[in-house]
């Protein structure tokens, strides 16, 4: 017994060892603090927004139109406008994005041209949203003569969110093991038959996750639609599901929040907070859906 403690002692009880352990504990707490420093603002901000928004948060707020010069009333036209913009941008961006990801992951070899495409995807993701707005204005509103319209705004959004779809679809495709493809090629299937029969069925939930993330990104963007098709106010019937034509301008939730916060004096406080909560709620719910889908998919994965 005496021998064993004599051996163990140098490892645990020297000043050096104690200092080492202390630094270790301090480091762990500091890093934990840094991680918590991001969670606390998120939770407290959301809680504060909901608290302030509470007087206006009800069903009527969602389906009513803005009243008294936007100082009171609801957000229906903005809600529908956001659905229009997101829907059309999704219809454009999803096919192009998924096919581009299929090209990059299934067809492209490692040569300079495909590296250039990768670089382009990375840079497209990094272009500031206001530059996308300038592009939309120059290309769709003026050059293509779509004017200030839902079409111009959604196309701008589509190009802006394309890299989101490409990146996540690629990740989903890359997670299908190479041996699956090889097995399929060995029975004589062509490249496309392999993609259709093996790769896509095994990665479809991952692709869907990316598409859902695109929706959440598109719903929250303001700058790209501000100068291409979104307006401060548009007269719409309460509860009307199809108030806009594709060549009309429309209201959008994100734009509406910006307007209420900066352009309209004396807005009832709870109205602007409630608008922020609805926008935040839509985006976070959609994201939570994507995360839930991903977790579910990972749990039932068989390889």
């Amino acid at each position: 017994m005496a021998d064993r403690t004599a051996i163990a002692a140098p490892f645990t009880q020297t000043a050096f060892g104690r200092r080492k352990e202390r630094y270790q504990r301090i480091a762990q707490w500091v890093f934990l603090g840094m991680a918590l420093a991001m969670i606390i603002p998120l939770v407290s901000i959301v809680a504060f927004l909901i608290y302030r928004a509470a007087p206006s948060l009800n069903w009527n707020f969602l389906v009513d139109i803005p009243r008294h010069g936007m100082r009171d009333g609801g957000i229906w036209p903005a809600l529908v406008g956001t659905f229009y913009l997101v829907g059309i941008s999704l219809a454009v961006a999803a096919p192009i994005g998924v096919l581009a990801a299929i090209y990059l992951n299934e067809y492209a070899g490692d040569n300079w041209f495909n590296r250039l495409i990768n670089l382009a995807v990375i840079n497209l993701a990094g272009v500031p949203s206001i530059v996308h707005a300038l592009f939309g204005l120059g290309a769709f509103v003026y050059a293509a003569r779509f004017g200030y319209s839902i079409i111009s705004a959604s196309l701008t959004l589509a190009i802006m969110t394309l890299p989101v779809i490409i990146a996540s679809t690629r990740e989903a495709l890359a997670s299908v093991p190479q041996s699956f493809r090889e097995a399929c090629w060995n029975v004589g299937a062509t490249r496309w038959q392999t993609i259709k029969a093996v790769v896509l069925p095994n990665s479809i939930s991952g692709i869907l996750t990316g598409v859902i993330l695109q929706v959440s990104r598109a719903a929250g963007e303001t700058a790209p639609i501000m100068f291409t098709g979104a307006v401060f106010y548009k007269a719409v019937q309460r509860g009307d599901f199809f108030p806009y034509h594709l060549t009309d301008q429309c209201m959008a939730l994100s734009m509406h929040l910006y307007t209420l916060a900066t352009q309209v004096p004396d807005v009832k406080e709870s109205v602007s907070y409630a608008t922020a909560v609805v926008l935040l709620g839509v985006v976070l719910l959609v994201n939570a859906g994507a995360i839930a889908l991903r977790i579910w998919m990972r749990n039932r994965k068989r390889w």
Partner: protein
């Protein structure tokens, strides 16, 4: 041939795919290839269309590119002497970004280290989900938070006359760029081979010694790329800084001064500038400048990351 010999003359012919299927597949693959190239087309198109709107002002004789880049006098609607100097705006962008990074880099990398090295599987999953949700908050909501909540907090704490200033924008931008720093930083730490960790732990290091003696040097490039991508996000952010930094075009002397950034300037003035006017074209030129800045930052980040992969 061989199989025909084996089973006899009346063996069924090897099934062929109908011609439409072959051609359909070829058409589809062409579409796939075109979509693959679309990213390049869009990046070029963005540069082309933004530059096309800006170009006429460059060649109209009385526009001075040096004044545009290095003068602090931004008077686009002056009656007597119109001047387009963006230096104060560029400085505004850089000061907000620098402040945001000073806050976001330590916290972001610290959180990345905690997630990658200290947390258990359950905790790790929870933290990553929260960071993903943090990244999803739209920039206009951040701007709204800056304008309402942060504004009041800053006035109450510092006693400044207005709460929408450099400090406000810096904090908001820091919160916005932390998620990208955490997720890329965590990827970089994950990419360090486990054998490095095992070798260090085997000679009796603590986790903390492991982190600053082994992981930092090994993941250096990946962590640098994480910071660069955070910078790219912060420089390009529009709505949050538009709403949170105040609107004064000036060189900031302290964190409580209002500033205006390149992005916010475009968003604030594009609506008022008549299409085709010099003012309008100069705003597009500012867009070209921004495009080039973020392009350079992202390109550098990509080279840094690929340097790691090659190693």
């Amino acid at each position: 041939m061989g199989s025909a010999d084996l089973v006899g003359a009346d063996a069924p012919e090897r099934p062929r795919r109908p011609r439409w299927a072959v051609w359909g597949e070829r058409a589809l693959e062409t579409i796939i290839r075109l979509s693959g190239v679309s990213a390049i087309i869009f990046v070029l198109a963005i540069f082309f269309f933004v530059f096309r709107e800006a170009a006429p002002v460059l060649f109209n004789g009385h526009f001075n590119i040096l004044q545009f880049l290095f003068s602090t006098a931004w008077y686009p609607t002056s009656e007597s002497n119109i001047r387009y100097g963006t230096f104060a705006l560029t400085l505004g962008s850089f000061s907000v970004t620098a402040l945001a990074m000073a806050l976001a880099v330590p916290f972001g990398l610290g959180a990345a280290i905690y997630i990658s090295e200290f947390s258990g599987p359950k905790q790790k999953e929870t933290l990553k989900v929260i960071i993903e949700l943090l990244a999803a908050i739209p920039s206009v909501v951040w701007g709204f938070i800056g304008l309402t909540i942060m504004n009041k907090i800053i006035v109450a704490v510092t006693g400044a006359p207005v709460g929408v200033n450099l400090l406000n924008g810096g904090i908001i931008l820091a919160l916005m760029s932390v998620p990208i720093i955490v997720s890329i930083g965590e990827d970089a730490l994950k990419a360090v081979p486990d054998s490095y960790r095992e070798a260090a732990l085997a000679i009796g290091t603590t986790k903390w010694q492991l982190i600053y003696r082994v992981l930092f040097p090994a993941a250096k490039n990946g962590l640098l790329a994480a910071v660069l991508l955070g910078v790219g996000r912060a420089v390009g952010e529009t709505m949050a800084v538009l709403m949170a930094t105040g609107h004064a075009v000036q060189i900031p002397h302290g964190v409580l001064d209002s500033v205006r950034t390149l992005t916010a300037n475009i968003a604030a003035e594009l609506g008022e500038a008549a299409a085709g006017s010099d003012h309008y074209r100069v705003l597009f030129l500012t867009g070209v400048l921004l495009f080039c800045i973020t392009f350079a930052v992202n390109l550098t980040a990509d080279f840094v990351i690929r340097g790691v992969r090659r190693k």
